[in-house]
Symmetry: C2
Subunit: 194 residues, 2 copies
């Protein structure tokens, strides 16, 4: 049959199509993304894609959800500076990697138009923030940061300069930028303004 | 003639089409923007738009450039906190206004694909940063901030949390967020980490 997927059905096809979708987003952006190109990259027939996903928007929303579902390890180095730096470096590595900025850009741009992507973006960042916040809670408990410091505010202060670089100023997002972002958040937290 | 613009030619047409393009971006986003809708909103015939702009991308790039060309007043309140707060409030007002976030989102999303928009984004932010940096230079001269503080780093530390809210976490971007962003930047700067 001409519509039979060449790499089999089930989870393997789904994973291949998800990965191909994210790779196409990184290569061409959402506007130029076609189901044909995704199918070719995934090694499946395009009807396989159409059978599983109603349209391009739901394909992209689903692929983004799969991509960001991967868990991020939460560091426990014993100091606020070590933990924040580890978090910042992990975020910087993702943003400067082959897919991170494309995934974020797509969430920002298409979240305006596609409710499923807006919801995904909200849940993704809320989840990351919530998990990362524990490093600040621990630092407050150790007396490294003032009592009453808001954990989410510190994590956001660390994340914000990295997203600014990736999305707005198009500056490199490497370890140096990550360490600077961690120091900025920590400096503000120690000053008691977060 | 059917192609005669209904509001006249020249700068008035151009300004009306620019404003209509930005309004359409805010209302529907780039993906759904059509020249027809822009023409209707501007009160001109669509051939008037096509005669002046080769395609949708150049129309949008041109409208964004016109929108961000408006100058932003640089405060001089006498204190770093007052100046940074005024800058942050102006940025927050723009981001939470009817067009700011749509303009930024379009720059972020389409800058990936359209070189003219990428260049515009880079120039826009570099220009804003450069002009705003004087408030930090003055604060260092007054002895309010440590010598060696990098003006652009302080301004970016103030801007970053507001862009994070507007683009990523979709939290409100009002005066409260602006004041918090100014305090964060100032706290980090006073701590000597910027």
């Amino acid at each position: 049959m001409s519509t039979r997927p060449t790499i089999g059905r089930g989870p393997k096809v789904q994973a291949a199509v998800h990965a191909a979708t994210v790779a196409e987003l990184a290569a061409t952006g959402y506007a130029a993304l076609t189901v044909e190109a995704v199918a070719t990259r995934a090694g499946v027939h395009k009807t396989t894609v159409y059978r599983r996903w109603a349209d391009r928007d739901s394909l992209v929303a689903d692929a983004l959800a799969a991509h960001v579902a991967a868990d991020v390890p939460i560091p426990d180095t014993g100091t606020a500076e070590g933990d924040l730096r580890a978090l910042a470096r992990a975020l910087a590595a993702w943003l400067s990697g082959p897919t991170g900025t494309a995934v974020v850009t797509t969430m920002v741009a298409e979240g305006v138009r596609v409710p499923a992507i807006a919801e995904l973006k909200r849940d993704f960042f809320a989840g990351r923030l919530e998990r990362a916040a524990v490093v600040v809670t621990r630092a407050v408990e150790r007396g490294e940061l003032p009592a009453g410091t808001r954990p989410d505010a510190v994590v956001k202060a660390m994340m914000a300069p990295l997203y600014l670089r990736a999305l707005i100023t198009a500056e490199p997002v490497g370890d140096e930028a990550a360490d600077q972002a961690a120091r900025t958040a920590l400096g503000a937290a120690r000053a008691g303004v977060l």
